[in-house]
């Protein structure tokens, strides 16, 4: 079985890994330590102490709070979006591109969808302004709840003790 150093996993996260190692990592069965290494690399990137449980976006995590072991969704900057079972988007700032003018800011003229049948909804962190997600639905569609992880089962798969409130 292959094993990788934390440095290699950090390079993987940063996108700095050489192709040969990356290819090997993609092709080979995952090493047992991979997930804990991965999460610990992410933990090193943030300034707060709550424990990262699962990343749900490049800058968004489900974390276990130090204070009362609650599971909440949290931005890299530290902004909290509330309980992880609720849709974090409901607590985010939203910008909706629903006119040709707004579409022309991101796509050349005539190369964006007709906003009568498709709009872009961009979700931002209210504290740091990081864009966490973009939805591309029909205008009348409700806010999408991307997914709600089964944390207990997942931790069972990766062979780690699950958070107490999972």
């Amino acid at each position: 079985m292959s094993t990788y150093t934390k440095k290699q996993v950090k390079d993987l996260v940063d996108g700095d890994l050489d192709w040969d190692t990356l290819h090997k990592m993609l092709s080979m069965p995952k090493d047992i330590e991979r997930y804990s290494n991965y999460v610990s690399v992410l933990q090193d990137q943030v300034s707060w102490d709550d424990k990262i449980i699962i990343p749900v976006g490049p800058h968004l995590y489900i974390v276990e709070t130090v204070k009362d072991k609650e599971l909440v969704t949290k931005c890299r900057c530290g902004h909290g979006f509330g309980d992880y079972t609720l849709n974090w988007k409901l607590n985010a700032l939203v910008y909706i591109r629903d006119s040709e003018e707004k579409m022309n800011q991101v796509y050349p003229k005539l190369m964006a969808p007709d906003t009568d049948w498709q709009v872009y909804r961009e979700y931002y962190c209210p504290t740091c302004g990081t864009m966490h997600d973009v939805e591309v639905p029909t205008p009348w569609y409700p806010v999408m709840h991307d997914f709600e992880p089964d944390i207990k089962t997942f931790f069972d798969w990766v062979g780690l003790p699950a958070p107490v409130n999972a």
Binding site: M1, S2, W19, H23, K24, L26, S27, M28, P29, K30, D31, I32
Partner: protein, 713 residues
């Protein structure tokens, strides 16, 4: 003087990435192998390696080179240049509007060369850097349609600007490849001439390659890639080979330096189409097996070459090997005819790991390479390789690996196998290591069987040749139970590829696409026209082949020309390459002979029952090969002495683990064995470059050509 009675006649060079091997053959068939570290200056490495080889005979380069009549080079420098994207900066001129097709590449190129698991694993797919950057690509307005009609005449003033810009930017070569140019080459040739004019005006000295002059075949990406390689990769090699040739001249050599090419022949280093020499290593073995088969009367041969990283297989049926029309090399689709081979990425040096999910042994796909395994601590490896298993089970001699150059540590290997393989599986170290070897042998055996039965043959009709550095170690394992007529291990297995290169013909081959389709409703006129168009293609190719030989100083009348064609049943996707039964075609009456030759070949390659002539026949390509006589190495011959090995060949015994128990294997020195000697397993026959394993229930004898015959009792 002994030298003059027995001159050194043939030299083979295998210039690899780390080592440069040379192979010298004397008139009596005796040979020596030399090794030297490869160098940026290839001629230096070749000379050092030659000195090393000739020391065995106590002779000097300056005495031997003048005696030699032929020298064949094969090397990896050109391939490495492509893989490392370190070629000549090349400018590309294409049909306007198609500037991006080269960098987009064919989707296939994103997973070429991958193991099956990775082919279906999209995340691993990846496009390599294009050979020519988009900044060095220009479009010229022109169009020839798929029927060969000129739809838009070429705008030559655009070509002029394009050429000037490319040269000013610093391109060192220009390649021209237009859509459908294989049907009408006038546009490409006109642009080529414009480029040459511009180069002259600017006082530059750079070569121009029009695809129609080199590879006038269908499939844009293949043709363009191949023509680019001619500039990008082959042009720098020309300089290296020129230097090597003149260096050999300085030492008295008067022979022609030839290079092994993918079509199975050798070509002169001055050849126009040098990109054909991109791959040559594994092909040498197939050529050598064919030659040996012809000399000794084996017409059906399964060739198997196992080295440290891969297992290469090829079939020779009725003294012929199959050709693959669009070979791919270095993850590029190419228009190069290639000796058809199957390769799997499992070799004697493959890494061994435990799959944590299925808790089973997994081999490769990567391998230890020159670092051998954990048994060579200086190599710095920590992952177990197949070699580690061989060492600890007594298959290989830890004190005589590569002639004792590397000292291997059995205890380190034992500990690594114990912690990484045996303990996790709950097995003893011996059983775990034996399991690894069994798994590798099983996998090789399955591939070998699949290759033979997949073509409708039975192993019973074949003799299996086993060579490559590790061939003799594994021969028993991957042939066991398959039912080959015989398994043959040449005593010079490690140098067999170099030997094969030296047996190859001096042969040029040119290809051209043609479009011929004849159904049962076709008129005599149609057939007449088709036959004529094939003859026109042959005439065009013949001129090219003769031109190549003229460059090397041969007269037209010395060249034997063999026309060929690729034919298929209409409605089928695959065609077959056929040597034409007629040397020239005069009219419709010749058609039936072409069809008959195809029908016969089809029945030989597949089966008579699979023939399907109902929809008619198509010819997709014209081929012309030309060859001249060359000196070839003689196959060694020594008279039979007797069944008992001489005393000096016996080196004692060594514990050897086989079939779940330790036995004492007799150890022999390979070079000291005499023709006729019979040896019962368990025995291990050692030489510097290879080890031949004869386990219990097997026996072997050495024949008068220094070929070991391995027999299952």
């Amino acid at each position: 003087m002994e030298q003059l009675d027995n001159p050194v006649e043939v030299m083979g060079i295998d210039a690899g990435g780390t080592m440069t091997d040379t192979f010298f053959v004397r008139a009596d068939g005796e040979f020596v192998v030399g090794k030297a570290q490869s160098d940026v200056d290839e001629s230096k490495a070749v000379l050092e390696s030659s000195v090393d080889a000739l020391t065995h005979w106590g002779r000097k380069v300056d005495d031997v080179f003048p005696e030699m009549v032929t020298c064949v080079f094969s090397g990896t420098a050109m391939l490495n240049r492509v893989v490392g994207r370190k070629g000549l900066r090349t400018g590309l001129i294409v049909s306007k509007g198609f500037e991006d097709f080269h960098r987009m590449g064919r989707a296939l190129q994103s997973y070429l060369g991958y193991a099956f698991e990775d082919r279906i694993h999209l995340n691993t797919h990846r496009y390599d850097e294009p050979l020519v950057s988009i900044k060095d690509t220009r479009g010229v307005t022109e169009r020839i349609d798929s029927k060969g009609n000129i739809v838009i005449p070429v705008r030559l003033h655009e070509a002029k600007i394009a050429a000037r810009e490319l040269i000013e930017q610093g391109c060192k070569a220009i390649v021209i490849s237009f859509l459908s140019s294989y049907l009408d080459g006038r546009h490409e040739r006109a642009v080529r001439d414009v480029c040459l004019e511009v180069i002259k005006e600017m006082g530059a000295d750079i070569p121009v390659f029009a695809s129609v002059d080199y590879y006038p075949v269908r499939k844009e990406s293949h043709r363009t890639n191949t023509t680019i390689l001619e500039a990008y990769a082959a042009e720098p090699s020309r300089a290296i080979l020129s230097a090597l040739s003149s260096k050999m001249g300085d030492h008295g050599g008067t022979f022609d330096l030839r290079v092994m090419a993918s079509h199975g022949g050798t070509i002169g280093w001055k050849a126009k189409e040098l990109a054909r020499t991109l791959v040559s290593g594994p092909i040498g073995g197939v050529i050598g097996a064919k030659y040996l088969g012809e000399q000794l009367g084996y017409e059906n041969i399964a060739c198997s070459d196992i080295g440290g990283t891969s297992f290469d297989m090829a079939l020779i049926t009725k003294n012929n090997f199959a050709m693959h029309q669009d070979g791919d090399v270095a993850r590029l689709v190419l228009s190069l005819p290639l000796v058809s081979m199957d390769t799997i990425g499992a070799g004697a040096g493959s890494f061994v790991r435990i799959d944590p999910h299925s808790n089973s042994i997994k081999l490769g796909p990567d391998s230890a390479g020159y670092k051998v395994g954990t048994c060579w601590p200086e190599g710095g490896l920590t992952t177990v390789s197949v070699t580690d298993c061989h060492i600890l089970l007594g298959y290989l001699n830890p004190d005589n690996f590569l002639g004792g150059v590397l000292k291997l540590d059995v205890d380190v290997a034992r500990e690594a196998v114990k912690t990484q393989i045996a303990d996790p599986l709950g097995l003893s170290v011996e059983d775990a290591a034996a399991g690894v070897i069994e798994l590798l042998d099983l996998s090789l055996r399955q591939h070998l069987r699949a290759m033979i039965t997949g073509k409708g043959y039975s192993p019973r009709d074949f003799v299996c040749f086993s060579y490559g550095g590790a061939g003799p170690v594994h021969a028993y394992g991957y042939t066991k139970g398959l039912g080959f007529k015989e398994t043959i291990v040449p005593a010079w297995a490690a140098g067999f590829s170099a030997f094969g290169c030296a047996t190859a013909n001096f042969e040029y081959r040119y290809d051209k696409s043609v479009d011929i389709g004849i159904t049962k409703d076709s008129s005599k006129d149609d057939i007449e026209k088709s036959v004529k168009s094939l003859q026109v293609a042959w005439d065009e190719l013949k001129e090219k082949v003769l031109e190549e030989f003229r460059i090397n100083g041969f007269k037209d009348e010395d060249v034997t020309l063999i026309p060929g064609y690729r034919m298929q049943y209409l409605g089928q996707l695959n065609d077959l390459e056929i040597d034409s039964p007629l040397t020239s075609l005069s009219g419709a009456d010749d058609w039936d002979a072409l069809v008959q030759a195809f029908d016969d070949t089809y029945a030989r390659v597949y089966a008579s029952a699979a023939r399907s002539p109902e929809l008619g026949f198509g010819i997709t390509g014209a081929i012309l090969s030309g060859s001249v006589e060359t000196k070839k190495p003689k196959i060694p011959y020594e008279p039979i002495v007797g069944p008992n090995p001489p005393k000096e060949a016996c080196l004692g015994t060594r514990p050897f683990y086989y079939d779940k128990k330790w036995v004492d294997a007799d150890i022999y020195q390979m070079e000291a064995l005499q023709p006729g000697n019979k040896i019962m397993g368990p025995a291990i026959i050692e030489s510097d470059a290879t080890t031949f394993v004869v386990p219990p229930t097997f026996k072997t004898f050495l024949d008068e050509h220094r070929l070991f015959h391995l027999i299952e009792c």
